[in-house]
Amino acid sequence: MIKRKKVWQYGFLILASVFSVFPLYWMAVSATNRSAEVIGGRMLPGGYLLENIKNLLAAQNVGRGMFNSLKYSVILTLISLVICSLAGYGFEIYHDRMKDSVMSLLLLAMMVPFAATMIPLYQMFSGFHLLNTTLGFILPTLSTPFLIMMFRQSARSFPHDILEAARLEGLNELQIFFRMFVPTMRSTYAAAMTITFMNAWNSYLWPKVIMQDTSSMTMPMLVANLTEGYVTDYGMLMLAVLLCTIPTIVIFFILQKSFAEGITGAVK
């Protein structure tokens, strides 16, 4: 009886894992094969990788796309973490009735669909000449209620003794934040970093709206452009998809453990 139950349990988990990993495996393998081989159903690594790289570089400015995406995402992530953690800390440590009601008002912004703010933002940004700029890319998502809430939640577990002790030592409030709070909240920062970087790297609708020059295009836009046209070179296309996926997968593997811890803190 027990054995049969275990078979079901493992069977289901194995099935789910295969279903989850297979499309990614197929994508990685196809990047090393000729388009005809991909269509033919080849599922083993081939020797066509260099040829695919050459074709891809000829078709699109991949270096530019990778550089742009990396630049936008890193800058957005760094500034966003500072602004949102300052705010989350401020909302919790100095909380009073006014600040609490401001916070609940901010949470309403989580409900606003991007489609509703997209057009006025576009009009505003083109008025301020922010189209095709890094600032234009980062401004709308620099401060998000989700991140602020996450940091507020983690500030709740920040011991008040440390705060009082640091004040007696003569540290000012900003110094306490940077020297005491930031180092103790590493796992929250790691989780916030993973989420923000992935969202920035993967964002598609907003860049599609404001990045109109080919020189400021992001990697996802460039990959999407490859599918236009009648004949698809699957080997080359999957190589582009692979390149577009590597940075987020790397970040995920590096920060996986702290990510789970940070989410646990936020759900509690």
Binding site: K5, Q9, L13, A16, S17, F19, S20, V21, P23, W26, V38, I39, G41, I83, L86, A87, G90, F91, I93, Y94, V102, L106, A109, M110, M111, P113, F114, A115, A116, T117, M118, I119, P120, L121, M124, L139, P140, S143, T144, P145, I148, F177, N202, Y204, L205, V209, P220, V223, A224, T227, Y234, M238, V241, C244, T245, T248, I249, F252, A260, V267
Partner: protein, 297 residues
């Protein structure tokens, strides 16, 4: 008196410092979210092309419900919502509770494998699924080789199968994400509760329904609201998996709003009105879910 006065200023200083900490974030959210939201509301009562707009009352809101493509996109969003979200959340819940078993081996491997799709960008996975299900794609090659089909079937060229591919892709991408939330929630439940239930003769199915589901209710509510919100705003999948086709059969509201604003002759007023319908739906559904979630207490 003197002491009290000094205390007040200290408190005031304290409060002001707090405002200093949160002002940048609050100003950004007001300027980037609330002001555009109000401007979109004003815009939604105007009609016209490009920058020549004039007040039109409720014209855009009435037009919306006579626009066959918009009604189609509204229905599509609801099809995705009503079919995909329940399947995904149940699947995530089952996987999380299977992974929560104390004596499970290879736990880390399973968890990583199932979460891995979330690290894939939306554009990437849409293109992977599109290639897998293309007429000359991998799925068709396998089906033909197994003699299930004679020739490749155009999955993305038929409305019904195209919608199923989108739903399948969404389940693939988001199940692991929701599972992580459930796994975190499960860590707050003492494992001894399950052991006690087992001694009392509860089947795994019973302890799932009677222990896991009720105790995870806040997390389930959170994921349900997040998924509803996300599904009503679907864009990348509609654009890159099916391009809304065949003949707008799979187009989503956000995709249609984008087309109306940036692809066709720009009609910002009409697009803004449609975006307000999404806003209204997101708010209304979140409200209903919170009410239903509270009721079962």
């Amino acid at each position: 008196m003197n002491g009290k006065g000094k205390r007040m200023t200290l408190e005031k200083r304290h409060s002001l410092t707090g405002w200093g900490f949160l002002t940048p974030a609050v100003v950004l959210i007001v300027v980037m979210n609330f002001i555009p939201m109000l401007r979109a509301l004003l815009l939604s009562f105007q009609a016209g092309v490009g920058n020549r707009m004039s007040f039109a009352g409720l014209y855009n809101y009435i037009r919306m419900f006579q626009d066959a493509v918009f009604l189609r996109s509204l229905a599509n969003n609801f099809i995705y919502l009503l079919i995909q979200v329940p399947i995904m959340l149940v699947l995530a819940l089952v996987l999380a509770s299977l992974l929560n078993h104390k004596d499970l081996r290879l736990k880390g491997v399973f968890r990583t494998a199932i979460f891995l799709p979330c690290a894939t960008s939306l554009v990437s996975y849409a293109i992977i699924f599109r290639s897998l299900f293309a007429v000359d794609g991998f799925i068709n090659t396998v089906l033909v080789r197994l003699h299930i089909l004679d020739t490749g079937y155009n999955f993305l060229g038929h409305a019904f199968s195209a919608r199923i591919v989108i739903i399948l892709a969404l389940i693939w991408r988001w199940t692991g994400y929701n599972m992580v939330f459930y796994l975190s929630g499960l860590q707050n439940i003492e494992y001894s509760v399950y052991e006690a239930a087992k001694i009392d003769g509860a089947t795994p199915f019973q302890s799932f329904w009677k222990i896991t589901v009720p105790l995870l209710k806040p997390t389930i509510l959170l994921t349900a609201i997040m998924s509803t919100n996300g599904t009503l705003q679907l864009f990348d999948e509609s654009v890159n998996l099916t391009n809304g086709g065949p003949a707008n059969a799979t187009i989503t509201m956000s995709h249609y709003i984008y087309n109306m604003s940036f692809k066709y002759v720009p009609n910002f007023g009409y697009a803004a009105a449609m975006s307000y319908l999404i806003l209204f739906l997101v708010a209304a559904l979140a409200f209903i879910q919170m009410k239903v979630g509270d009721k079962r207490d």
